[in-house]
Amino acid sequence: MSVVVIIVVIVVVAVVLGLGLRSRTANDGVDSFRRQIDALSPEARKPTIDQVKSAERLDDDDRADGDDSAP
């Protein structure tokens, strides 16, 4: 009798845990995808891409001496 109750309890707990885990991983997917897409937005990228302007000034002088990649 008590053995049956224990088994039932274990099964219920396992099912609840399983569902909880599954929904958590599902949400994780949504969250991390959202984070990735947000980090790729033009607003997020602006500071990085703007850095090239300061870098361009830096290597202007060493490009003059015959860099193979200078236009």
Binding site: S32, F33, R35, Q36, I37, D38, A39, L40, S41, P42, A44, R45, P47, T48, I49, Q51, V52, S54, A55, L58, D59, D62, G66, D67, D68, S69, P71
Partner: protein, 334 residues
């Protein structure tokens, strides 16, 4: 404190982006070695200046030349020297993101990440070059629209269609701007009987090379060694001759772009007609190339305004947003 790094390990040029600082290094991917002892004598611009001008015991090589790693040991030493030069040591352990040609094999990938770890990186991950190029060229890849980027480097040409932060179609060939240099070298040897070095061929390409007729066309004086007499000699080369010499290379680059277009799902391919394709990489700067691709594909081609830096800026952006973007590493996606 360790500053995380992004590296564009190009076949022709290597660029390094430091988190919070921007681009801190930009130089040719060349290493000069003592042939007998194997010692490294120079790297970067200094080694580049030695190409074709070394005495017998020195050899100046581009380890990634063909978009593949031909010599693992030399590549590893190049990566280690590179990281040392930007201040990486066993005490500073930064995270490193490296862009490699998409066509490299699993074994080559491991070699690159292992080399970075051995040089002191706490963690080393790779991302595909065209993906980084699209991020750096400021394409709206966060939207569900078709973004197409064509990256023409020294040894490789890679075209990719990107939507919602992922690669939808990719076409990578081991043909690039170095092959144009080689075609010019062969033509001048065959038709004018003079031998020229690879750097001279590159200068001719940049000065008068074109993929389609352009408005201002000039001839160029070419100096080399006469194959018959062995003496220095000058000849005149016309832009038509150069176009003829490089035609095979240009048409294989254009065909690879067309193959990529044909791999794209129809919903995305209609986007290209409106949005165009973006050209990046030093090879994309060849006169008339954008026009030529546009003429053959009937899709507008736009030049990125950071053609040489787009890849390292894209990788740099991933380093700036490491946690959010780590799902973009090669091997992270299923």
């Amino acid at each position: 404190m360790a500053r995380d790094l992004a590296i564009d390990l190009g076949t022709a040029n290597t660029l390094v982006y430091m988190k919070g600082r921007g681009i801190v290094l930009n130089e040719p991917s060349v290493i000069a070695l003592n042939r007998q002892t194997g010692e490294v004598l120079a790297t970067g611009r200094e080694a580049w200046q030695m190409i074709g001008r070394t005495p017998g015991y020195i050899v100046a090589v581009r380890p990634l030349r063909g978009g593949a790693i031909t010599d693992f040991e030399i590549t590893e030493r190049m990566i280690r020297l590179l990281l040392q030069r930007v201040g990486v040591s066993r005490f500073t352990r930064p995270k490193v993101v490296i862009c490699v040609p998409s066509a490299i094999t699993e074994v080559e990938r491991r070699a690159v990440t292992d080399a970075a770890r051995r040089a002191g990186a706490a963690d080393a991950n790779l991302i595909e070059q065209p993906m980084a190029a699209a991020i750096g060229a400021d394409l709206p890849i966060d939207e569900p629209v078709g973004n197409m980027v064509i990256d023409i480097g020294g040894g490789t040409s890679e075209t990719a269609v990107i939507s919602l932060g992922g690669i939808v179609a990719l076409e990578a060939v081991r043909v690039g701007s170095f092959d144009i240099d080689a075609a010019i070298q062969n033509y001048v040897r065959r038709e004018h009987g003079i031998a020229i070095g690879e750097r001279t061929a590159e200068e001719i390409k940049v000065a008068i090379g074109s993929a389609d007729p352009t408005h201002d066309e000039n001839q160029a004086e070419v100096r080399g060694r006469d194959l018959m007499t062995g003496l220095p000699k000058t000849v005149l080369l016309t832009p038509e001759e150069v176009r003829f010499a490089i035609e095979d290379v240009i048409s294989s680059i254009v065909s690879s772009v067309i193959r990529c277009l044909s791999k794209a799902p129809p919903e995305l391919s209609q986007d290209f007609l409106v949005r165009g394709m973006y050209l990046v990489g030093g090879g994309g700067l060849l006169r008339g190339l954008a026009e030529r691709i546009e003429r053959e594909t009937e899709v507008p081609v736009k030049m990125s305004n950071v053609p040489l830096e787009a890849v390292v800026l894209g990788a740099g952006h991933v380093i700036e947003h490491y946690e959010a973007l780590k799902g973009m590493f090669m091997g992270a996606r299923r």
